[in-house]
Symmetry: C4
Subunit: 233 residues, 4 copies
């Protein structure tokens, strides 16, 4: 096999989704990329989690052509491909229909940064990318979904590793990271930040985002050269 270690990592990351309560049935997928070899491994489409194995992950090139594997790749592959092309620092991507994140996507609102749980991982609000146009929906839908995300990040001038997630209007969340492991972590935090924000607004409908100083503090204590959370590596 071409990339047995990549298959193994992607398999494991996919199996974490149901453990974290992020998926029902087959509604989620994780991919990772080997940038040197130009190969992506991704979950096959519509296969139950209990039937997944490192061997049935699908390996494609950066244009989404199957290089190794008998099954169809996740139908969201073209979205992953667009993101890998546009965001060269990204090594892993997660898509789910997790309940709380979908609710913000359906509501069409950014998830505001209301506290340090959010700020420790996402540097500011988690954007809700615009709805696709009818032309985009009827064209290469999954590819256009990726393009809409990229457009949103470009328009807002966001660093995709500082805000490593998004919801797409009417659809649901995508999260990513330097590898598939951090992508899953970020997907879990996105869901929890979404839940906390919903509760927060119920308790105080006129609440404001946290001050910029707090966003800076919490993001930078976990990221970058002055990070001091956790153990020295």
């Amino acid at each position: 096999m071409l990339v047995p270690e990549l298959r193994e990592r992607v398999y494991k990351a996919n199996m974490e989704l149901p453990e974290h309560g992020l998926v029902k049935f087959t509604w989620g997928n994780v991919s990772a990329i080997d940038r040197e070899k130009g190969l992506i491994a991704i979950k096959p489409s519509g296969v139950a989690y209990e039937k997944l194995s490192p061997e049935n992950m699908v390996v494609t090139d950066l244009d989404g052509n199957i290089v190794e594997g008998d099954l169809n790749p996740s139908s969201d592959l073209p979205t992953h491909v667009e993101l890998y092309k546009a965001f060269p620092e990204v090594g892993g991507i997660v898509h789910t229909h997790s309940t709380e994140s979908v609710a913000w996507a359906q509501a069409g609102r950014d998830i505001p940064c209301y506290g340090t749980t959010h700020a420790d991982t996402f540097y500011g609000a988690i954007p809700c990318a615009r709805a696709l146009t009818t032309e985009e929906i009827n064209g290469e839908y999954e590819k256009e979904t990726g393009k809409v995300i990229i457009e949103e990040f470009a328009k807002r001038g966001l660093d995709p590793l500082a805000v490593a997630g998004v919801t797409v209007r009417n659809h649901g969340p995508f999260a990513w990271g330097k590898d598939e492991k951090s992508a899953v972590y970020n997907a879990v935090v996105l869901e929890e930040a979404a839940r906390m924000a919903r509760y927060t607004e119920a308790i105080n409908p006129t609440v404001a985002e946290v001050p910029q100083a707090l966003k800076d503090k919490h993001y930078l204590r976990k990221h970058g050269k002055n990070a001091y959370y956790g153990q020295k590596k």
Copy 2:
């Protein structure tokens, strides 16, 4: 036994309801029909899930007369019978009192199609059928429940396999499908779509349904001759 394989399938489908968190106590039932033989298998009434077996499913004819079995069938059998008679494509039916779906039934509102999770399975809003009249309540109540559902679908011109579920006002959800397995799947999606819709309106009280183009896209990518989700059969 007349239909051992049907009993087995209906037993298994019933056991999936508590696994998916759709029932408390005995508040749910699944049936399936063998159209060729004209026989329905359904859960017995008020029997705990841990005591169910393929053998104690109740087999009836299309008028609801017991053909094989010592126990009373689910008291909702007459609703199932009406639906099987009116919807010839339907092979399995589920009724539960799952929390989120019941909330919409009690609120007396259709569940709007706010996103692709809903649109992948249900082609448009999930209708809330009207309340029964006093006469209907005091008459053949469970049979009238079925008739009210059929009336609602006729009035709206809905295809029962495109919108394979409903809530009945003041009562709760019914879902169905080409077989008992897809009926259970649809009942799970109905519950999740109901939950997501409640959250969505809490976050954005003036949210609108998704555009028609998105409904078309998502429903048709999973259903019909141009479906491309999952593996080729």
Copy 3:
């Protein structure tokens, strides 16, 4: 031992509370009464569920005096005693601080009958008994809690087996039944009806109770001489 079978039943019923998710820590208790012998068995106070056994249940007389047992009975015993005295048909009582029921108690509102899940078990709204006065709080508090419940049922002319539960303002739910088993069942339904009612009002803030004909139908199909739900006994 005086009533080994009663101890066993009460022990088992207490153990069902955490299984149904109705209690945290030691916040709940079940009792049952042997009317012929005039003896009550109840959970000991503040003992963890994993340390309960039939042997450490506390047996008291109808005035709440310990007849058998080394431990203090639940501090809520005087409430149970008042209810047993006032409601001679009642054989078992449950008190918990289950989340959804407490929320209605804290909100100071009856739980409206919004649907058949509620109506199958409770014949109409589940009352919220008034808050205790300062004198009652500073007097025999737990006994006065029982009296307030009895006063509420008398004032409203309610049959305690038709509406086999209540919430006490600022406090939480009590449920009961002909025996401890039905009392636990009713406590679970009370909690679920409370949850469904909260969701229902979120979806439709101006929703009304179900019509009387539906209350009659659902209550009477499960209770009384014309009941037809379940298996013939």
Copy 4:
């Protein structure tokens, strides 16, 4: 080792946090203090719960200097240290990002005392301490967090064992107690009281706190020399 028994207790208390559903990933920490020896044991920073052991707890002095241990202590240690210095009766401290408590912290509101579940443990509203200033955020952040809590308790004249918890604006909950075990208990109650208060306001947006007499009754039946809940020690 200096304080093997303290390490053991702190380890066990940390392991209770995920069991009670209060933490995701590594987002929580418990410490305890041996007042005689002037030593604190606390969870190491960013270490997964399944890798914790009594041996990898970090032991520090009352200025937060590591006395024994190879790992970095929780980054929240300076908050714990401030609280131990200011509240001499406190023997254990818990910090989490539990969802419901965080929501009140993010909403910037005290958790009102709406019922006896709250009143049994917390003597009145659970305060939301003010947001840190930009100077405090950019200074010794975690130490300042402790100071803000202490300031809040001083300003309100609160007894830290009568109200053994707080939320810090935009951040989350801290709870404490005479030892680490009661601190965990209080953190669980804080979370449940927060959940109940959210639900209560959804059901009745104009609800008021319970009367003072009820606060007195419930707190004092479990605390102080006239307590009568539970078994005599």
